[in-house]
Structures are given as C-alpha cells and as structure tokens.
Symmetry: C2
Subunit: 402 residues, 2 copies
C-alpha cells in the first residue's frame, strides 16, 4: 500500500514543464542529462535502459545534447566490434557552466563550476561589508565576478547564469533583499545592481548552504534540516529534495524560534529567540570576548586551548540549539539535521550538549545530527551549483552554440 | 524572474504518473475531471479552452470519463442550434464515491461522499475507545461502515476506497498505527483489521483535518498550518497544497514543541511541551475541573457562563499556543494558521492571547490566524474526500462499469 496519488512525491527534473509532446521531449532531455551526470560515463544503451526509453529515442536526445555542448563522447568503448561502437557519454567539461557569488558580512566571493561539478575558477576578497551601501558592494562583487568569468572563458567555459548568496531574507521574486540586518540593508533590489545579462537568482545564504548539502553532501538524505550561522542563525528546510521557501520566501528562520519565552528581547521583535543564546555575538558575550573579525576562528582557537568560559558558552549555545531543534524535529520529522557554516567549525564543542538535549526530549531514537563537510564554502558552492542544476533540469533552455 | 526550474512547484493532479503517451493520457483525464469538478457544469469546448487541448482530444477523454461513470451530460445547452449541441458536463452524482471513517477517543464515525463532494450517508456512535483493544473497535467501525455503504448502494453509489482517520501517529505505509497513546494502541496494523477490499489509507486525524481544510475551506491558502486538538494537539503542515509528512510520517507534532524549556515532564519524553499547557487535560486541570466525557463542551459552556478559572486557563493555553506557533511560523513562513477540531470550538477564549503572543513576537505583520468552519467534522470529511481526490487525480484507475 502506498500513499494516495494526490500526495505522491512531486520532485524530479523538469516536472514543471508543460504536458505536451514538446514538454515531454524537454523532460526526457533532462532525464538523459541527470542520468549521465549521476552515473556516467555511460553508453547510449545504458542510458536507454536506465530511463526506460528505446535506444533510438535516446540517441536522438543525446545527439541534441552533444550539439548543445552539454554532453561529449569519450570515443568508442571497444573499437573493432561489429556494429556501431558503444561510445561512452560524459557530461561536458566545457561550454555552459554555473557562476556563483556571495555577499558575506566579512567577505565577497565568486566562483565558476562546470557541469561536472568541478570548481574551475574562484576569487575571494576579505573585508567588512557591515554598514556599506549596496552599490559599492555590488560594484566590487561585479569586479570579482568579471575576474572569474574571464578565467573561465580562458578554459572554454561560459556561465549559463549567476546566482548570488546573501546574508538576509530574500523575497520570492528571487532578487529583492527584504532585509539583511548585519549589512544594514533593507529592500535592496540586487537585480538592478548586478550584471543583468547574467543574474538568475538571489537567495539567502542558509538556503544555498542547504542546497549545497543536498547536492554535494556524501550521504545527505532528501528530508533534512540544514542549520548554519554566519552572524545570525538560519536554516534550510529540505523536503523530498526540495527547498521549503514559505509564502514570502522567509522559511527557515530557526534563529527566531523562542527558546525561553521570557528571555532577552531580540531585534526581530521577539523575546528569548535562539539567536539570543546561540548566535555568534551572544556566544562571544557569554564568553566575555569582544566581537571583531574572525569571530568563529577566535572561538575555535580559545576552545581548543581549553578556555573554560568559551567552552561553557559553546555548551550553553548547543543546549539552546537542542531545544529549538526539538521543536523543529517534532514539526518536520526530518531524516536528519546537518550543522553547516560556522556551526560546523564549532561542532566539537556544540554537539555534545545539543545531542543530549535532543535525545533527552525524545522518547524514541533521537533525530541524527551530522556536521557538514562543506563548512563555510556551502553557500557559494550552492549558488554556483544552482545554475548547473538549472541546466541539467532543462537542457533545452541552453541554446545550441553558434 | 521566477524561481529556478529545479524548485518550481511540483503539485498538480496525476503528476506522479509515468511520462509516456499512456501516462500523458491519464494526466489529461485527471485535468478534465479536475476542471469540471472545480468549474462545472462546462461544455466540451470550455473544458478544451481551459486546459489547452483541442476539442477533439477533449471529446475522446470526456467520452471515456462518461463511460466510467465519472462525468455525466446534463443534456443539450441550447437545443435547436445548428451542429452538435454543446451539452454541459458535470461530475457524476452516482457511481464511484469516497468512503471515510474515524476512530475517535470517544466516538466512531463513517460517511460516504459523492464525487461532487456531497455527504450522502453518515453514521456516528458515541462511547469511549480508551483502553479498548483494536479488534473490537475495528469490528464496530466495520459495522458502521457496512451501514453507510448499504445506504450509499441504495443511492447508486459505490465506494472507490476507504480512508480511516485515527488519533495517533501512522507510519508511511499508510496502515500501521505506530502509537495512539489516548487509545493505548501501539504498532497496530489496521490493514489487517479493516475490510481489505476497501481500505486504501489510514492517517492521523490532524492530517485529514488539514486536508479537509485545504479542499473544503472557503479561502484556505495553499501554504498553511492547521492546528487541531482532540486529547492531544496535532498539526498538519500544508506546503503548496501538499501535506508534509516527514520521514516516518510523524510531522506536525506541534503538541511536543517545547514552550518552557524546564517545564513539566511530558509523556513524549520531553519537558514543557505545548501539550502540557494547551492540551485538553492540562486546561481542565488548570481550571480545576475533572476530565470526563464532553470535555470541550464543558469548557465552552463554563467559559460562556463567565467562569473566571476556565477563562484564565484558556487564556494561558492561548498564550502557550502563540509561543509554539511563533516558532512554527518562523520555520515555515506559512500564509496562515487555521485552528480546527476542538480548538475551533474554544477559539473565542483562546484567540485573543494567542494572537497577542504571535504579534508581540514578530517585527512585521503577524501571520493571520483563522478558525475552521469544519470544526470536529474535519478529519472524517478529510478521510472521505481523500478517496474522492484520488479518483479525480487518476480517473483511469477506476475501471469502466460492467
């Protein structure tokens, strides 16, 4: 017995395309791309058997993908055999690529990832963006983007789009930063400030971090909660391989889940929010340290050295995370929780109290908690890979090269 | 600019069917059914223009649906006009129907709903099921089901399936009640106890209540949180018109979101859970009343009479609900919160403190909270309608009548 059809999982490449012959062709192109991307190199016959289409149908689709520069043939598998040789197909390491960029509170970054998922160009600039106006930040980020695009061009790669990760809430239009308190930005339309010929999406860094975990994590489940921190604490809720965005695009505000109903006032308007106990600034304050650059590195260094105040502050933060996550796990029943971003670097000191809290508040087995291996690279990689995924999901949208 | 294609909404009738010519036909049959169901009576030409297929293609689909007893023709719209008259199509009020049943803590119920959504037969038996073994409860429920099926048969209706709402956690197999603490049931496979030729799904009453709200509510959004209570407090998380179930099927356990981290111990293993402040028994205790039958009616009557202890207890329960919902709203960013089940009947006394708490913890406009008009009928109606929806979503699965 399975779930009734009206609630069957809806995920899958190209599913939103129209249900016509043309839509079916586009979806099948996406199936071929995803199959070769996940399992390649593969022969045409292997692709056909894996996706349940005839070899002739697959060959037509493959030829189109080769002409578009999305697939390439690695040459005959076994020369000398009778009949057309079974040439192995691979995703192209040239042509269309993903371009990602990140506005951090203390850095800017850009990178190019090819369709195979390899990072081919990358640039980072350190320096605070707190209190800077959006225009000069966007200009500096654009310079960085031009650098990596030029480098990618030298390697025969052309970005199919640009996605930008930002430390703030982004509207569902995918371009307006509604508020980014740690930058001091409100209602900033990044679509007006970035290269219009490239920009495809702006999103919250926690969302791109969660997507990076979904796409690049070793054994990431398809239902999980990705918790990350830069200055604030954010989460990405991933359900059946899809990001849950919410009505306004603001889902995942774990940092503002009440942990102590009458706790200290928070800038969100609430009281006793998780951020008041486990945000970077709260932890620094609790440890008696001054906020400055490299806050996470400072906390990690002090904790490693055995500083009892820092360790206690991190233990208390882990406990608060455990309380907030108990609520989230009860609501969402995810397969796991992944700690990413700055939390990944501080995990050795956060995890014991976090896990104890989660287990102590659950009758059955507690939800597994793991630590992201992407750490603070997650949002930038997630942004670049979102462009790559868009190409894999609808390869027909990439025009054939001239 | 829209969301990238890999995250476009995936909802829609029949979307999970295979992507072949046959799958396309089945999806198009579902489109016709849903269009006539939502907008009918409609002529073939209107259906064709609404779903973007040719009139010839729609006529073939419509003929098949008429043969299967799912659509019927109301006769020529304008007799005497030249050419084939545009006969109006409507969803059939005969033939396949939805059969729903409910195991409540204090009652059993069953009903039959036709494809038009009308309740055509209904039966309820009051009496506690607390501590009763599953077998006699299932036998009594089966008798009730046979009654409404016989009544439906007299009206020319034949159930296309049976869905059962239960006050407990149901595994993703859609038949095993993992635990129903207020019945005292653990690991009960209802699939072995109910008529096997009929049973299609068992689900948590909060889930069916939420789905009923989605399908039958007047202006229910597609992203909302439905909060209901019988003895416990449960929620249904609906995202883009789909129920979020979680890995084990346990999502929506709002009753076990921590509200006060060091509050009283809860049977779930946690401390200070919402249920300890806003569950029926907690409210009765806080008001100095004895738990018995008709607990909700008792609270509502006393509150109406101006009993200050009851009013204070309900006010405090509303406050606790507001704290837990603040966390849920921050995580999910829903379009609204709907209070259903017993909470709907107590809403006049819960809502003011609930809304004040939610608004006081939010910088921007607070998430709207409304009250279900289905009240305690929600789960039973949701169960019956889930069978109706399954027919609308895949009409090809209903065999042509002999």
């Amino acid at each position: 017995m399975t779930a009734p059809p009206h609630e069957a999982p809806q995920a899958g490449p190209g599913r939103s395309l129209p249900d016509t012959q043309q839509g079916m062709r586009r979806r099948n192109l996406a199936r071929v791309m995803h199959t070769v991307s996940a399992k390649g190199p593969l022969s045409r016959a292997s692709v056909a058997s894996r996706i349940g289409l005839t070899r002739a149908a697959v060959s037509t689709l493959v030829d189109e993908l080769i002409r578009s520069g999305l697939l390439e043939e690695l040459g005959p598998e076994r020369p000398g055999r009778v009949g057309r040789p079974g040439s192995a197909l691979a995703v192209s390491g040239h042509g269309p690529a993903g371009l990602g960029a990140e506005v951090g509170v203390d850095h800017l970054a850009a990178c190019v990832v090819d369709l195979r998922g390899e990072v081919r160009a990358r640039a980072v600039r350190h320096g605070t963006n707190r209190g800077r106006a959006p225009e000069p930040v966007a200009r500096e980020l654009t310079e960085l983007i031009r650098e990596v695009v030029a480098e990618a061009d030298r390697q025969g790669l052309a970005p199919a789009g640009l996605a930008v990760a930002v430390p703030g809430l982004v509207a569902r239009d995918g371009r307006t930063i509604v508020r980014a308190p740690n930058l001091g930005w409100h209602e900033v339309d990044l679509g007006l400030l970035m290269p219009p010929e490239l920009l495809t999406a702006v999103d919250n860094e926690a969302n791109f971090g969660g997507l990076a975990e979904l796409w690049l994590g070793a054994e990431t489940p398809r239902d999980f909660l990705h918790v990350s921190a830069e200055i604030g604490i954010g989460a990405a809720v991933v359900v059946e391989g899809q990001l849950l965005r919410g009505r306004r695009g603001f889902a995942g505000e774990l940092g503002h889940v009440p942990v102590v109903p009458d706790g200290p006032a928070c800038r969100c308007g609430g009281r006793g929010c998780l951020e008041q106990y486990a945000g970077e600034e709260a932890v620094l304050r609790a440890a008696g340290l001054e906020p400055g650059a490299d806050r996470v590195a400072l906390l990690a260094a002090r904790a490693t050295q055995g500083d009892q105040d820092v360790r206690r502050a991190l233990r208390d933060a882990g406990k608060a995370l455990g309380i907030a996550l108990t609520g989230a796990v009860n609501l969402l029943d995810p397969e796991g929780v992944v700690l990413g971003g700055a939390l990944a670097e501080l995990a050795p000191w956060l995890l014991p109290s976090l896990k104890a809290e989660l287990a102590g508040r659950t009758a059955g087995p507690a939800c597994p908690v793991s630590v992201s291996r992407l750490g603070s690279d997650g949002p930038l990689l997630g942004a670049a890979h979102s462009v790559v995924r868009a190409v894999l999901d609808d390869p027909a949208a990439v025009a054939e090269p001239a």
